[in-house]
């Protein structure tokens, strides 16, 4: 566990860089976290981030299939928005724990 200064706010993150406390999350933090992944966030990104945060809060196990059925983006689009790891990267930027899902 470490404290990292993101967008001027001290944020608790684990050794892999996932935020420990999702309630600390803000849009400003998301922008900074996305930069570390070389992603520039658009409104579409934010729609997905809000969606997966909501799913996480309701205790649902996230899968790319669920995001693909959200009506926000299809799976191909999700891969384009978060290249090289759609579920992991979107979860990281959304400030929720690393998804423990194989699908």
């Amino acid at each position: 566990m470490a404290t990292k200064n993101i967008a001027g706010i001290p944020v608790e993150v684990n050794e892999e860089g996932y935020m420990s406390d999702p309630s600390q999350w803000s849009r400003e933090i998301a922008v900074e976290l996305a930069k570390e992944e070389n992603i520039e966030l658009t409104e579409k990104h934010f729609e997905i981030l809000e969606f997966i945060r909501k799913e996480y809060e309701s205790g649902v196990q996230l899968t790319i299939r669920k995001v693909g059925k959200s009506g926000i983006v299809d799976i191909k689009g999700l891969y384009e928005l978060f290249p090289g790891g759609p579920l992991k990267k979107s979860s990281k930027i959304a400030g929720i724990p690393k998804p423990a899902s194989c699908v």
Binding site: I64, R65, I75
Partner: protein
């Protein structure tokens, strides 16, 4: 002991030669899991594994209920092989497996192929096996890039940190 540097996996080439639910899904889950992690995935379907990418068969995969020592009743009791020979039992067990997987958000085969290819995974069919089963490109899922030889497949398996997995 000297510290060994771990280099991340870059590419997996997966071979599926069997057509039961569990064999096909092992392949699909490994392939999808790879692309989700940003690992390149190439999947080669051969012999009975071709059922998974054959339009007529892909929705009708079954799991073997005869001679399968790991098969158990829902309560955990052994599943008698003699029960498995009754008509409809294999279909019933297979339907149950599929419904259990659906609960875990594991999609049907065709949708799984959509997901893998959406992530950049590539699907191939074995030339020798398609010749043997008299299958043509048009009999196969539209996700199949090509019918290729073993040599073609090995040619794709080059490069640093590549693994070949036989499921």
């Amino acid at each position: 002991m000297s510290a060994k540097e771990e280099k991340p996996l870059k590419k997996v080439c997966i071979i599926c030669a069997k057509g039961s639910i569990e064999d096909v899904y092992a392949t699909l889950i490994m392939a999808n899991g790879a692309v989700m992690e940003g690992i390149e995935a190439k999947v080669f379907f051969t012999f009975f594994g071709l059922d998974a990418i054959t339009k007529k068969q892909m929705k009708k995969l079954h799991t073997g209920v005869v001679g399968n020592p790991a098969m158990r009743m829902p309560g955990g009791l052994p599943f008698p092989t003699l029960l498995g020979i009754l008509p409809g039992v294999e279909a019933g067990v297979s339907a149950m497996m599929k419904s259990q997987m659906e609960k875990l958000d594991i999609p049907p085969v065709d949708e799984f192929l959509d997901m893998i290819t959406a992530g950049g995974g590539e699907i191939y069919a074995c030339k020798l096996a398609t010749d043997m089963f008299k299958l043509k490109k048009e009999d196969l899922s539209e996700h199949v890039i090509d019918i290729i030889t073993v040599g073609d497949f090995y040619a794709m398996a080059g490069g640093e940190n590549t693994q070949i997995i036989f499921t």
